[in-house]
Amino acid sequence: MQIRIDQITKTFGRVRANDSISMALEGGRIYAVLGENGAGKSTLMKILSGYQPADSGRILLDGQEVRFATPADALITGIGMLHQDPLDVPNLTALENFMLGKHEGLLPKRRTALTAFREVGQRLGFDLNPDAYIDSLTIGERQQLEIVRLLSMGARVLILDEPTTGISAAQKETLFNSLKHLAHEQGVTVILVSHKLEDVEALCDQVLVLRAGKLVGERAMPISAGELVTLMFGQSLERKPRPPAPKGDAIFEAAHLTILTRRLTVHDLSLKAHAGEVIGLAGLDGSGQREFLRACAGLQPPQRGHLRLHGRDVSRADYHQMARFGVAYAPSGRLEEGLVAGLTVVEHFALARPGGLWIRWGAVRSYTQKQIDHYHIKGQPESQIQMLSGGNQQRTLIALLPDQLSLLLLEDPTRGLDVESARWVWEQLLERRAKGTTILFISPDLDEIIEYSDRVLVFFGGRATLVDDPAHMTTEGLGRLIGGKS
């Protein structure tokens, strides 16, 4: 099936998630849609699969314009989407899930369904037990089930969102083989949404790269990882010369740290950070940098290894203990984790400042006013926090940080900020650095990493490589590491 996307635009508030995107996808080919978080690929795929409507633009299937009100509509016309977390019903069996959503009248025919289930499964090389309950299946098996279901319901276009996260190597191979079979033998259009360059290299025929809501490149595979990274992150800036940081003592140390989460394992990470040092954590989203940062904050207990702060073992310390030791953590989802929607600015300060049972509102209010002035926050002490703009929320978040810090952990500190605000934020951070605070930060923006880091820790698939030699600190050099090439 041929798909033409014509001038699709979608805006959320002031953010243009998709900006006049046009592309054409042919049947029988496997496409990769690449792009960093926020590049607009999820939005585009949701529009394509009927989860949300576009503001403007058209979708044409084999030359016919189509409009979808629901995902079910899209599936009827042949577009099926496989989510990162398969949307199945846990307390049903595999076969029952397979039968769900079919329009067969009141009494579904179990026998017919079983035959179809087996037949499709075998063709794709999946070994699925129809009577197994969903909770007992692995993510990989649930994916396989979902693919079987989508195909049996007539999907001619398969969209897969990060399908290789959380599945085993063998399952990945099965998946890729079946996808190749589907595309090349049966003419199904496969669209892979991913930022894993190795998957793209292994599977795809064609790459579409999005950046900041725009389609910025289309290439036939194979091309070099470096070129892809450049496409994804934009034009490389060379590192500006900067006076070497006066290195203090090594105050924070991670030794052979292993962090296990449901999706990812961070292996054997060791790092020594010095007072007054900025370390950037680079890597494609989901490579382990966030897990590491959260472990440093006491939010994610490590499986093995040690964390030491000023020589003290803090591997088992929780977030509140870490805070007492002078560690602060500023997450990226400001209103999801960090600020409390519904509370006013002054209430945030009252909450974050230490104190006893009572709050002396007079004192807190004058302190708040002082911080508002100092950090140029556009808002009143009585403004509800969610009424502030993103930039002012970020300023508030930074104004809320305690004065004396040993270690400051930041997730994407300039997310969504304009150039001016971003530079202001970094001025504040560097001021703290000058006072001897160690800063670890995550950024999806390679330029930001290169510009502000003294050293860079590059994550790929849960493994970290430390880069302290300036020669490697170029977009090209880091890009290769980010893409998993040493």
Partner: protein, 374 residues
């Protein structure tokens, strides 16, 4: 926001009454004059509002922290049981001034223990407080019936003997009016109001002094509150932060689990005192169904006011009108307005629906707004 559910329920009740061939206007008149027409009835309304206000005050704390403390019924029941431990052993000759305070205190402990169980289940076993609460409600009712059918049973029916006067909440001679009861409820509400006060703002209620009986008492409390307002409690703010976003609150340094436990305990203590009031004031004995549904009433009140403490006493008084007024309707001499009092329950049911409907609409509107932000 409270207008919608009330309005919808009133209209629905009118339709129901008319369809039964009753005169809705006359019924409303009889309802109001019945519930407010005599000093005794007014006292009954106020005194029925006392347990509701006590319970709702406690629930303000947990609902502020985003905890649906459905287990409050069980906490009321346990409070009544614990108060009875003392009350049933008091003889007519006991004169100690500490009897009633001891009963109330023990009841608070009982309610708090029961609430702490629900909180611990949530924190350590990840059992949602709603499900834990439902289970604990069930258990508490069975403990009550076990006691009332066992050692505590006096006479034929599964209930204790009537408590002796020294064990009862003191009332004014010859009436059902208990200033101590009102003081307890208003005091609890003022404390909660102060604890949850937003940013030290002062409270102004125009015309309060002109409201009979309750007005001056409330006005005094409000003055006290305003004197205290500039020193707010950190706790109330922490609970509000948890209620809005537990993740953010935790990252801002709030010990979320600790405060979940504390707010449940505080609510349980007030619910326990509510149970004591039911046992040593309303019924004067421990009998089945001792909670009288006051816990669920409290939940309803708190949902109806959307967790704004200021409105709670008013709504509690309004809810207290319903059983008294519908009793007067049911026991009415005039057959045109003689209406089965279960319609009072229907009215409450309709109110619940109205509240849920209004909440649903509100959430829908909020989601709509949210969808326009990435």
């Amino acid at each position: 926001m409270m207008l919608l559910p009330l309005l919808v329920s009133l209209i629905l009740m009118g339709i129901i009454l008319s369809s039964l061939g009753k005169d809705a206007g006359a019924a409303l008149e009889r309802f109001l004059s019945g519930a407010l027409g005599t000093p005794n009835a007014r006292v009954d309304v106020i005194m029925l509002a006392v347990p509701m206000l006590l319970c709702a005050s406690g629930l303000l704390l947990t609902y502020t922290a985003g905890l649906w403390n459905i287990g409050v019924e069980g906490q009321v029941t346990m409070g009544a049981i614990f108060a009875t431990i003392i009350a049933r052993s008091i003889t007519q000759e006991d004169t100690s001034p500490f009897i009633v305070p001891a009963e109330l205190l023990l009841a608070a402990v009982g309610g708090a223990l029961w609430a702490a169980l629900a909180a611990l289940l949530r924190i350590h076993a990840k059992v949602n407080e709603i499900f834990g609460g439902v289970a604990l409600n069930f258990i508490s009712v069975n403990i009550l019936l076990w006691l009332l059918n066992g050692d505590w049973k006096v006479g034929t029916y599964p209930q204790t003997a009537d408590f002796n006067t020294p064990a009862l909440l003191p009332r004014l001679e010859g009436t059902r009016f208990s200033p101590l009861g009102i003081g307890l409820a208003v005091g609890a509400w003022l404390l909660v109001f102060w604890a949850l006060n937003h940013g030290g703002k002062k409270l102004v209620i125009p015309g309060l002094n002109r409201v009979p009986v309750v007005g001056p008492i409330l006005a005094l409390g409000v003055r006290l509150l305003n004197f205290l307002a500039p020193r707010g409690t950190r706790w109330g703010l922490q609970l509000r932060a948890i209620g809005r976003s537990p993740r953010s609150a935790s990252l801002l340094g709030v010990r979320v689990n600790r405060h979940i436990l504390l707010s449940m305990i505080a609510c349980g203590a007030l619910a326990g005192i509510t149970g004591a009031v039911q046992a040593i004031f309303v019924r004067g004995r421990l009998s089945p169904g001792i909670s009288g549904g006051i816990g669920f009433m409290g939940v309803l009140i708190v949902l109806l006011v959307n967790i704004r403490p200021l409105w709670v006493p008013l709504i509690a008084l309004f809810f207290a009108l319903v059983p008294i007024g519908s009793l007067k309707l049911a026991s009415s001499l005039d057959p045109a307005v003689q209406i089965d009092a279960s319609l009072g329950n229907v009215f409450q049911g309709v109110l619940v629906l109205g509240v849920l409907l209004a909440n649903g609409l509100r959430e829908r509107a909020a989601r709509k707004r949210k969808e326009n932000i990435p």
